[in-house]
């Protein structure tokens, strides 16, 4: 997804886009209000969140053991487990499964891991047609766009934009487009046709249950169930960290996931799959896939273990930190330029892929702590943003003008006479540049501050001068 356009250029573009601003404001306000209502009705909410955090911490600390247990349990129920170290291995595994079962068409329910490994492009190259079936992801697919929220992928689009895509790309009639429910019904018909003929269903996995080898997929639309029921082959992609030890532990997670994401007590379809349909000699379960594969994707996750970013592996992908973040609320998901946007993305993306081209993301935060406040498992995102900023300074990825500025400041601070001289010079400059006590333009790199905010003019007398006057 990375582009030659810089983070700051994307932010500027987003801030100038009034339609985007309106869409982001409407969506994040609705989602945050929903979340508050959801938790208001939950007795012992704090206790449940603490409990959920403890489950995640415990599981991540013993991840190797639980993965082995999960693999054994999936296998015992007739499923297959595959392990992918990298994105390339993961897509190769999925393409291999498609070849093995002779699959030419696939329906897909929402999976952030599949975005991360860029699965659709790879499958198209391997001759498999992929149809995104989550309504938002379907619209992203026909628009050749990218999701801008991990739960609500087209949070950045208006209904007029969607209607235009349906009209020009799918031949929708004015009747199909007269309101949002009609547009949804139109999409249902288009997607149902895809479901009825697909050979393969591809899903993500919200959780894996180590004890039972079960995979939990939550959707509101029901596309997660259709994807994992109608086609004869089901392939699930899941990050290696997404396990919980037992079904009872899963119950704890489910109580907070729907509430945090959309303010729902439970997501409409909480789907728990344990192996392919069970059949013996043509009798047994009537429907469901004959083949069930789980692909466990590492792609940089295991390297986070044992380090200061390990806590990001507790994340259950509810999206609450995005909705709560004042930066995300303003700029939307695309400005981040990464698959995972918002506060979680600002930690996860440099964590998985290295600071390199992602060194700006940890700066996309005011460190206000709203993300930590709403996180259902209380992940300390600001702590990790700070440690990434530290690391980026140590790795020398700070712009040279900042380094030079800090060197100059230190030079002055060690030389009292030079410091006072510089103060006086700054005061003269400040007086010339300010109006009514505020400076609204500074040339050079510091204009990045004054482009968006005024800076207070320097006081007529410095602290040291006043102190000396008092003690004289």
């Amino acid at each position: 997804v990375s582009s030659p356009v810089t983070f700051y250029e994307r932010v500027d573009k987003a801030l100038k886009d009034r339609a985007l601003g309106a869409a982001m404001s409407r969506a994040t306000t609705t989602l945050m209000a929903g979340r508050r209502r959801g938790f208001d009705g939950l007795a012992h909410a704090d206790e449940i969140r603490d409990h959920a955090r403890a489950i995640r911490a415990h599981t991540v600390a013993r991840l190797g053991d639980y993965l082995r247990q999960f693999e054994a349990a999936v296998t015992a129920r007739g499923g297959h487990v595959h392990w992918a170290e990298t994105a390339e291995q993961a897509v190769e595994i999925v393409a291999g499964i498609a070849r093995q079962h002779g699959c030419r068409t696939a329906v897909k329910s929402k999976s952030m891991v599949s975005e991360e490994i860029e699965l659709n492009d790879a499958l198209e190259k391997a001759g498999v047609d992929v149809l995104e079936t989550d309504l938002g992801e379907f619209i992203v697919q026909i628009d050749r766009d990218h999701p801008s929220h991990i739960v609500a992928p087209i949070i950045h689009k208006s209904k007029e934009q969607v209607a235009e895509s349906f009209r020009t790309k799918l031949g929708a009639t004015p009747d199909d487009l007269k309101d949002v429910p009609s547009m949804t019904a139109f999409a249902r018909r288009a997607l149902r046709a895809g479901f009825l003929k697909a050979d393969m269903g591809i899903s993500g996995g919200n959780f894996g249950v180590a004890e039972t080898g079960s995979l939990c997929i939550v959707t509101n639309e029901g596309n997660g169930r259709l994807t994992t029921t109608l086609p004869r082959v089901h392939v699930a992609l899941m990050g290696i960290e997404r396990l919980v030890p037992t079904l009872a532990d899963l119950g704890v997670m489910l109580q907070i996931l729907g509430r945090s994401a959309m303010g729902q007590k439970l997501t409409v379809y909480t789907n728990i799959i344990s192996g392919p349909r069970r059949q013996h000699d043509g009798s047994g379960e009537s429907d469901g896939p004959d083949h069930f594969h789980v692909v466990l994707v590492d792609n940089g996750r295991s390297r986070l273990l044992g380090g200061e970013l390990a806590e990001i592996l507790y994340c259950i992908r509810c999206g609450a930190c995005l909705n709560a973040c004042p930066v995300y609320q303003q700029v939307g998901g695309h400005a981040y330029g990464s698959v995972y946007p918002g506060p979680i993305g600002a930690v996860l993306t440099p964590g998985l892929r290295g600071l390199g081209e992602w060194s700006d993301l940890p700066q996309a935060s005011s460190l206000c702590g709203a993300c930590r406040e709403v996180c259902p498992v209380r992940i300390d995102i600001p702590r990790m943003l700070l440690s990434l900023r530290d690391r980026s300074t140590e790795e020398g990825e700070t712009p040279s003008w900042v380094t030079a500025g800090l060197w100059f400041l230190r030079y002055l601070a060690e030389r009292p006479r030079a410091f006072r001289l510089a103060q006086r010079a700054a005061r003269v400059a400040s007086r010339a540049a300010s109006r009514d006590g505020w400076i609204s333009f500074v040339p050079g790199h510091l204009s990045r501050w004054t482009d968006r905010r005024d800076f207070p003019a320097l006081a007529p007398r410095s602290f040291m001068e006043r102190w000396e006057a008092r003690t004289r």
């Binding site: 449940i48 403890a54 689009k157 029921t229 409409v268 044992g306």
Partner: protein
């Protein structure tokens, strides 16, 4: 892909040995989850929660009343076919026979493995207007149905048609999801699919505007037999 397995597990074990996990009071498993009791009439709470989600709840006094309700609902939707679970699993003795007696054909969820036969069978079932199932439990505090698929209890009956009718006995209603999981420890092993259905299919993807029935049933009726 044994290499992938070996390398991923080796990397995990090595990194965990390096230590430095985030601050936590304890890394032990926290034990059984906090469970709060739902006080009062469970069926009433179930009805209130489900109704708030746009599920229509019908309270029926006895099997005969439930049968009348289901047949009336099927007629209301002009159903000549219904995608249904086997009679034994409908939570209401005599219901399947009564439906057949009313001239409505009961279709099973049977799916062949052969790709072409499977597509043909799906094309045949897709127009069926109503699905009919029992349920293993109702969850009072969320208004959810707990549905297990197993022989005679297909997944598609609660999924493929635009309307779903579920029959539940009032005694099957438990306070909450944690209560259900504690009282059904074999829930994941009873069949390949356990699903909690909480209201009709919905989406808010376009401008956060609620639309029902995007993929799953947009209409859900629950008949609670007391």
């Amino acid at each position: 892909m044994t290499d992938g397995r070996f390398n991923v597990l080796a990397s995990i074990d090595r990194q965990i040995r390096l230590g430095g996990l985030p601050p936590a009071a304890s890394l032990e498993h926290p034990g059984p989850p906090p469970v709060s009791d739902v006080v009062g009439d469970l069926a009433a709470r179930f009805e209130a929660e489900a109704t708030a989600l746009a599920v229509t709840v019908h309270r029926a006094r006895g099997d005969a009343a439930a049968i009348d309700t289901v047949i009336a609902l099927l007629r209301q939707r002009s159903a000549t076919r219904v995608l249904a679970w086997d009679a034994d699993w409908l939570n209401c003795p005599g219901l399947a026979d009564a439906i057949a007696g009313a001239g409505i054909a009961l279709e099973s969820c049977w799916m062949p493995s052969d790709p072409e036969a499977r597509r043909a069978r799906l094309a045949e079932l897709d127009p069926v207007p109503v699905g009919l199932t029992g349920a293993v439990a109702g969850l009072a505090d969320t208004g959810s149905l707990a549905v297990i698929s197993a022989p005679g209890r297909g997944r598609m009956a609660s999924l493929l048609p635009p309307a779903h009718i579920a029959v539940l006995r009032a005694a099957q209603i438990v306070p909450s999801l944690p209560h259900f999981l504690a009282s059904h420890p074999d829930a994941a092993d009873a069949g390949s699919n356990l699903v909690f259905i909480t209201g009709p299919s919905r989406t808010g993807d376009i401008e956060m505007t609620l639309s029902r029935g995007v993929h799953g049933p947009g209409v859900v009726h629950v008949v609670v037999i007391e």
